[in-house]
Amino acid sequence: MSTVLAHKPLGYRAASAGFALAAFAALALADLHVASLDPWADLRRLLAGLMRPDFASVLPLSIAYTIAFAVLGVGLGAGAGFLLAIPFARSRAVRLFCASLRAVHELFWALLLMQIFGLSATTGLLAIALPYAGICAKVFSEIIEEADLAALRVLPPGTGAVSAFLYARLPDVAANLRHYTLYRFECGLRSTLVLGFIGLPTMGFHLESAFRQGRYGEAAALLAVFYGLIGTRRLWVRPATLPFLAVASLLVLPATVGTTDIGAGLARFLTHSIVPAPLREGALADPATWTGLWAWFAPILTGQIVPGALQTLVLAQIALVVTALGALVLFPLTARRFTGPLGRPLGRILLVVVRSTPEYMLAYLLLQLLGPSMLPTILALAIHNAGIVGYLMGRHADGLAYRLDAPKGLNLYAYETLPRLYGQFLAYLLYRWELILREGAILGLLGVATLGFYVDAAISELRIDVAVVLIAATVILTLAVEALSRRLRARLRIATLPTRLSRPLTDAGEPA
């Protein structure tokens, strides 16, 4: 199947039109009602708060926790990912395992892990480390596969597999692995904010409270500090500072208040909580147990999984196309040719702000403005992802070599830069598709009936068995979209273009 598809290339235009049409079709299914609101009182307070950030209210310890969770969570994830990367290419089971790890959102992991480890640092660390191990395994494995095999070929016969790996392959890929891990750290910082929403004392904890209670001065200060952390990441997260960061992070992690019996918690979780309710008491040999199981599952399937998956796909489809349009507008802002020496730093700051603002916060703000519908969620996802794609595209635009007599301004953009980068642009978008889907699923917590909406309900009703079934459905949906995205990339012949920052890009285009 995939070979047939690979032989029949697809044009960029057809692919773009297909996605736009699908998004139009999705619009028909989406609830985009704008409530007639009077948000101005709240907005005035918001603007006043943003003008006067209240830096005194930011707890320095919450910044330390944020960094600690990110350093250790990403560190654990990258370490486990590295180990998993070695059998990744050969073992289908490992690939499936890693795909499942990364298809579950950090927030869902945290909610599940809390059942076992309570509200503790362990819950927070594992909630980041598990999905990151899945992501890192995949990317590390790709990096290792892409590596030059020349050194391997000249090894004497009889060299052990471990020695061969350590001496012939690792040196070649180490720089890329390191670069990618440091980049993941930025994502890790964003993930720690989500941990705050379940009660771990990261900056997300205070940010959520501040937004919820309208303390916008505090929210603005927290966001400013957070943008600062992300924007200066390259300065303080370096190979040389890592040992210090790791040790300091270990020392600073919040102590667990109260104790949980982890063995008992794990046993209860595995043998009771996640076991579908009809199977807990019924005898497995009894056919009535299995009809009971179907009676339990059927309404979940028809009432939650199917409508939830549909809403999630609709949301992701529209958000993806809006992301594309947003990225096309935003990327010239960070490209040297379009902004000049003065504008570009400003453009970069804008994009840092746009991509570091958590979708959840954006969606919540937009909810106040536009009322409850799918619209706030679509815009939140699109703004965040357009910031990321725009940033990556800007870096590619700077890497292009232009003729001396290249046109300027709109002509350059429309007739040279964009056509040359369009394949890359599609590669990024197809890759983001799966990530948008994953985020869109959890934004259901805000009230749009995506899969996360039903997971939230199941957890509130303490029906962990139902929550696990719904999360599994999310995993299957994410994996399906990922597979489709891979096929499309193959048909568009853009499968080999980068979809991640595993190698330094800008530095090639930077003025010396």
């Binding site: 250790l72 590295f82 209670q213 104790t259």
Partner: protein, 293 residues
């Protein structure tokens, strides 16, 4: 290099973060408690901070408050034993006691024996206050509070199902949301994001007094019949940990609170003894609305 470092932090992080779980035994472990986050967090910290200080002095054991962000987190902390005592809503208490054999309700606020839900509406809906359930709210947009809230979800859903037999709230209203907490329900109805909402009457009163409610934008249109709500629930094993009779001492400490500075942030005049049986009606309602197995 990187991998080794990561592996080291793996080795180092896990025992460390599990550490406190083992390092007990010599002295009495602190009594840890939590409360459902039903309103502004600053008020919760004020409220529970004072209770912790009071209980520590009264009981002679260390007492710690652990803040949580949502209702299921509070129940989970109780069911997995991280907290031994919790200030639950009526329904979260029922959920917690169902999941933890031996746990029991020991005290409620004097106001909780006959608690009420207010239905509130944005002024632009033109809905007026009424004695009967305001059926003309059908077709409007509607927000509950947290999903597992008694006064913001369970009971209002029960009254809606009574007023519109055979219909779920999603079929009665044009849109149904869950704001997350009562203060936010008030904000969302006030801004017009939702037209009608269900709130805890004590939070409405506290927020009104605090000047957070704009009377020209949002008002109460209906007051529900009374039902039992908030209570302190304690795990059974505190008797083994802190000595026989501890549950009773805890109950007396709670019902003995007369300091208005502690009671006022709760919106309660005092705490009175209560037992599980008082919450049997909520179990019924939970089953009939499908929120409880």
């Amino acid at each position: 290099m990187l991998a080794r470092r990561a592996a080291l932090s793996l080795l180092a992080a896990l025992p460390w973060s599990l550490g406190p779980a083992r390092a007990e035994g010599a002295t009495k472990p602190p009594l840890v408690f939590t409360g459902i986050p039903d309103q502004d967090e600053s008020r919760l910290v004020e409220r529970f901070g004072k209770v912790a200080t009071y209980l520590e002095a009264k009981l002679g054991v260390p007492v710690r408050y652990i803040p949580v962000k949502n209702y299921p987190a509070a129940v989970t902390a109780f069911t997995n034993g991280q907290v031994q005592l919790a200030w639950f809503g009526g329904f979260t208490g029922v959920q917690a006691r169902k999941a933890v054999p031996g746990a029991r309700a020991i005290a409620q606020g004097a106001e909780d024996a006959a608690f009420k839900t207010y239905l509130i509406a944005n002024a632009r809906t033109g809905l007026g206050s009424s004695k009967e359930f305001p059926k003309e709210a059908a077709g409007k947009t509607f927000t509950f509070g947290a999903r597992a809230s008694t006064s913001g979800r369970l009971m209002p859903e029960h009254f809606i199902r009574q007023a519109f037999p055979g219909k779920a709230p999603e079929q009665v209203f044009s849109r149904v949301g869950f704001s997350g907490d009562h203060s936010r329900t008030i904000q969302l109805v006030q801004s017009g994001a939702f037209e009608v909402g269900a709130v805890d009457y004590t939070v409405w009163d506290l927020d009104s007094k605090a000047g957070k409610v704009e009377p020209s934008a949002v008002k109460v249109i209906w007051e529900s019949p009374p039902y039992p709500d908030y209570q302190w629930t304690v795990r059974g094993e505190v008797e083994a940990t802190y000595g026989a009779g501890f549950t009773e001492r805890l109950r007396q400490a709670l019902t003995g609170i007369d300091d208005p500075a502690i009671l006022e942030p709760f919106g309660r005049t005092r705490f009175i003894p209560v037992d599980d049986a008082a919450y049997a009606p909520l179990v019924e309602v939970g089953r009939s609305t499908g929120l409880l197995d």
